[in-house]
């Protein structure tokens, strides 16, 4: 099978119904619905949220960004294309890490990878379907 530039398969428990191809699998209506959870804060240059169970810092002004809160990462995928790491987010599906630079991509993927082993992630949904910011709890 030719190498792909997006995840071609996923664990059985999270496998998308569509066939593998060169783009992330489409979201189901349920997944789209779950992607509109509470608006908390927009992307920022520094973290604004506090870990669950700690005093919450003041939030920046709300934006139109929808946040996914405390989501499990159920799978990871990458291939031999540059900056092409993806994480399967519980109830959401595949999300690629931002590709601004190697540094950015690697840092975000390190956080997502850690969440595959323990903990959860909180991040804002973006129009380009990339993850541009991750809180690892």
């Amino acid at each position: 099978m030719a190498a792909s530039t997006s995840p071609s398969s996923a664990p059985v428990t999270v496998a998308p119904t569509a066939s593998p191809d060169n783009a992330p699998q489409p979201l189901t209506p349920d997944q789209l619905s779950s992607a509109t959870t509470a608006v908390a804060a927009g992307p920022s240059a520094e973290p604004a949220l506090s870990p669950p169970g700690t005093p919450q810092a003041a939030l920046p002004a709300a934006t139109a960004a929808a946040w996914q809160s405390s989501k499990k990462v159920l799978a990871l995928w990458t291939n031999n294309s540059p900056r092409n790491g993806h994480a399967w987010v519980d109830t959401v599906g595949w999300r690629r890490m931002a590709t601004n630079s190697d540094s950015v991509h690697e840092a975000l993927l390190m956080l997502a990878s850690s969440a595959r082993l323990a903990g959860s992630i909180t991040y804002p949904e973006a129009a380009d379907n990339l993850i541009h910011e991750i809180y690892l709890w």
Binding site: P43, S44, A45, E46, P47, S50, P51, T54, P55, Q56, A57, A98, N100, S101, S103, V104, E106, A107, L108, M110, L111, S114, L117, A118, G119, H132, E133, I134, Y135, L136, W137
Partner: protein, 376 residues
């Protein structure tokens, strides 16, 4: 500081009792650790040099005038900058005020009022009631104060103390433990530059009670000076107003809140917990020059030190190069060193491992940036 030219008669408890009764008991008095002292010992607890009599009258008059305006503002429709009540001891469920201390028989109240303010602002602005910062009044007073010609007998001024905190910084208590007149013979630890709090900004709010409230609610504490009359030594609880007794001297404390419904500031003193309301007191708006003598705000507090054993509770990154952060328990968010790519990723990898494994971390942070880590 006591005024050597006008020795005040000692506190007369019976007279205070009588006056309070005559005025409807505006506050509660009681014998305490201050009233049992000899007068000269008591006045050694006051460490702000008094201004000339004319200036004293003016600042008290201004304070009363401001209080009248502030009372009107407080009863107006809300929407002004600050809430009607604030107390750093219970702000959003957190207590950001460090334990009450005892300056002993040394006019070092400026060091205590300043250090306590820095400790609370550091915790409050980080949203970390568990920070438990304990800074060295001895370093501030016996080193920086001495360099500015302040002694236990002359006292000092908060503006001068804050300049030292801004220009040099204050080390932690364990690097120079305080004792009155440094009778313990403690010496400043030579490593003090690596265990240091500095205040990058400070601002005078003297004569501006509205700004005082806004900044209290935004940063948690302020430094303030006021005139101490003899009846104040016998304060136990309630809202203090001068009812009787001569002027004893000038004093510096930390304001940690206010209450518009009671028309008062809430203050932390440095006369041990056996004085007043467990070491705290409430003083009416416009009383004894509390707003008009010298009020100082600390904008932020930078810390340079090892964190001690702590935990990684969260990690964060976004789509900017080397912009990775770790949330350490009781410390809040700290930026990971970003000197170069390898340094930043190495630190991130170690802190991820600490979080995954629930392993303790000891990190050296400098002004909000982690520059060295142990994962144990």
């Amino acid at each position: 500081m006591a005024d050597p030219g006008t020795p005040a008669p000692p506190v007369e408890l019976d007279r205070v009792r009588t006056e309070l009764a005559a005025q409807g008991h505006p506050w509660v008095m009681g014998e305490n650790s201050m009233t049992i002292l000899e007068e000269d010992q008591r006045r050694h607890r006051l460490g702000v040099p008094l201004p000339p009599e004319g200036e004293r009258r003016e600042l008290e008059s201004q304070a009363r005038s401001l209080a009248a305006g502030e009372a009107a503002r407080a009863t107006a429709v809300s929407g002004a900058g600050a809430p009607a009540q604030f107390d750093s001891r219970n702000a959003g469920g957190g207590n950001y005020v460090t334990p009450v201390k005892d300056q002993g028989d040394c006019g070092s109240c400026v060091a205590f009022g300043t250090v306590a303010t820095i400790e609370t602002v550091a915790a409050f602005t980080r949203g970390q009631p568990g920070l438990r910062l304990d800074l060295s009044e001895a370093h501030l007073f016996y080193t920086h104060g001495a360099n500015d010609n302040a002694t236990c007998d002359t006292g000092w001024m908060p503006e001068r103390a804050l300049k030292a905190c801004h220009d040099v910084g204050v080390t932690y208590e364990d690097y120079f433990p305080y004792s009155a007149r440094n009778r313990s013979g403690a010496k400043l630890n030579a490593d003090w530059p690596n265990r240091l709090a500095t205040t990058p900004s400070y601002t005078a709010l003297t004569g501006n009670p509205a700004a005082m409230k806004e900044q209290l609610a935004a940063r948690g504490a302020l430094v303030a000076c006021f005139l101490v009359y003899q009846d104040f030594f016998a304060y136990k609880s309630g809202v203090y107003r001068h009812v009787t007794g001569a002027l004893a001297g000038g004093h510096c404390v930390t304001l940690v809140g206010y209450d518009d419904s009671q028309g008062c500031w809430i203050a932390k003193n440095s006369w041990n917990t056996s004085w007043g309301d467990a070491g705290f007191f409430r003083i009416a708006y416009g009383e004894c020059g509390i707003e008009t003598w010298q009020v100082e705000q600390v904008g932020a507090v930078n810390l340079r030190s090892w964190t001690g054993s702590t935990s990684v509770l969260g990690l964060w990154s976004n789509d900017q190069d080397r912009n990775t952060w770790a949330y350490l328990q009781n410390m809040g968010w700290l930026h990971l060193a970003a000197d170069d790519e390898v340094i930043n990723k190495a630190m991130l990898a170690e802190l991820i491992a600490a979080k995954q494994g629930g392993r303790p971390v000891n990190a050296f942070s400098n002004n909000g940036t982690i520059i060295e880590t142990y994962v144990l």
